[in-house]
């Protein structure tokens, strides 16, 4: 079946049946590249599953010599990470929903005609190239009483001008006929927006939802600046404190009884735990974001 279909893939190279020498060379180079990219992850997994004794003997090995989940156990018992997870999940979900809703509305409005559009669009574009910078932004956050508030992080990441610009051209390219047809059928503005316009932007919306969610999940710098109380700390700040606190880590590896727990192991276990949610969602969303990025780059 696939031979009769016209080429829809990104590949511009024609299909061949037999692999040539060049094909094998490409195959080998790409396999090596992929392995090199995966190596740091694999290295971290192995260390996180190791026991202290085995790690002391062979810090670099292909597989855990003495398999143990004690490092993970230790992290879960300590509870810090679960607070981080709770806060980050809360911030990611509410932030993504708010940010996407606002971006979509703004982009749709910008794709229509109204008085003052040019000026407002220029004002928005300007923020892509010039900003007040770190200190004035921080002082503004302080003035708005957003210090030590989860809202501060939600609002700081906020909406992305770039996403709005791309989404706007997406809406602009929807045929006017579609809208007219819906109007003749008696649909009002809201119905047109939700039933006609939005579904057409599927890949772009999926892409930007993914990007926004990842931005919230990964945000470290501003959550470090804004959040003081330990109950509101996000996943990345907790992770950073676990990794950076050398003193606390040393205490772990020389501490009382549990010799199976050790600082590098705990650090890498924390790293793995922070990554797992992204690793889980990522493969499913990949086909959308590649499409979305392509559309975006063409539309720019």
């Amino acid at each position: 079946m696939h031979t009769s279909l016209p080429q829809k893939t990104l590949s511009a190279a024609p299909k061949r049946k037999k692999w040539t020498k060049g094909d094998y060379a490409v195959f080998i180079i790409l396999t090596l590249t992929a392995l090199l990219i995966l190596m740091p992850f694999y290295n971290a997994v192995v260390i996180s599953l190791e026991t202290n004794r085995a790690y002391a003997l062979h810090p670099v090995s292909l597989y855990p010599a003495e398999f143990s989940l004690k490092n993970y156990q230790y992290l879960i018992d300590k509870g810090q990470l679960s607070i981080g997870f709770q806060n980050t999940i809360l911030i990611t979900i509410s932030g993504t929903v708010l940010s996407m809703a606002a971006s979509v509305m703004m982009a749709y409005a910008f794709s229509r005609k109204f008085p003052g559009k040019k000026l407002l669009f220029l004002l928005m574009m300007f923020t892509m190239f010039f900003s007040g910078g770190m200190i004035p932004t921080y002082l503004q956050m302080k003035a708005l009483k957003l210090i030590d508030s989860r809202w501060g992080i939600i609002l700081f990441v906020g909406v992305s001008t770039y996403n709005i610009v791309i989404l706007k051209s997406g809406f602009e390219q929807t045929p006017v006929d579609l809208e007219d047809a819906a109007k003749i059928d008696g649909a009002n503005d809201l119905v047109i927006f939700f039933r006609v316009m939005l579904p057409l932007q599927g890949p772009l919306l999926a892409t930007f939802t993914l990007f926004t969610a990842v931005a919230y999940w990964n945000e470290w710098f501003w959550s470090m600046l804004l959040i003081n109380s330990s109950g509101k700390m996000t996943l990345q700040t907790v992770l950073r404190s676990i990794v950076a606190e050398a003193a606390a880590a040393a205490d772990v590896s020389t501490g009382e009884a549990d010799l199976d727990v050790f600082s590098q192991g705990v650090k890498m276990a924390a790293v793995m735990m922070a990554m797992v949610p992204i690793m889980c969602f990522y493969p499913f969303l990949q086909k959308y974001f590649v499409k979305g990025v392509m559309v975006g780059s063409v539309k720019m």
Partner: protein, 316 residues
Amino acid sequence: MMDMIDKKRGMRLRNRVRLKRRIWAARNLYLMFFPVLVYYALFRYAPMGGLMIAFKDFNAFLGFEKSPWVGFKFFNQFFNSIYLWRLVRNTLLINLYDLLFNFPASIILALLLNEVPNKRFKKAAQTITYLPYFISSVVIASMVVQFLSPSSGIVNHFIAALGGERQYFMTQPGSFRTIYTVMNLWKNIGWNSIIFLAAISGINGELYEACMIDGGGYLRRMWHITLPGIASTIVVLIIMRLGHVMDAGYETILLLQNNANLETSDVIGTYVYRRGLRGGEYSYATAVGMFQSVIGFTMVIMANYLSRRYSETSLW
């Protein structure tokens, strides 16, 4: 005469009525706009107004209004310090290394991916190479430090196995740029190849067939068809990158920074953070940040102008 004035007034009046009607017709759009408009005012434009403290001796007790004006004092302080050259040099070199090594690497990856005959393998290779782009900077920095650890890192393990001496990479100023560039290569190579893959997919397939009939192999196809086909994309991206040579993502740098490697790892962003938010010198740090913003803005405008002249691609 009177007639004409009346006519003009009438037209103006009509225009005004029409404008009102147009605004009223677009009321739903304004409503959709409103939340984001407030957002932009509070979180994008208000901080720009806050830049005025670069020209004041800001004192938290006196506030924005009452702090005394000092003119260009803090700019002069920065221009006369040893930091100006150090920060600019580090920022430029980090971006230059990226352009020299990582930019071509992503083009090569796109060319290779394009040549993969097996669809499933291609997809797997793409999935793996895009993955690091989505990993947080804290995770990446932690893995870098572990990877390069003198006692237990994999890199030093191999150095020791080959009879070399174990290196304290993170505290050697001479290693920082290499570490940072390789880290970014690892993180971005897949992601940056997407745009080139998109450009390649726009090349006419008949060209390849013609080349095949003429007996052209891999390298000839690549050299004579694929590369010329994406040349304009490459040029535009280089111009845009040149527009951003004064920006360096400071988050990951901050995570990899320590007192020992400051000489090569300090960039404007990390310096502003250290002096401003850690040291409390708000006005001075704002001036330093503003210096970067203004230069960055000018360069992006210039890059965009060049890009528009060279090709039809521009950001606006």
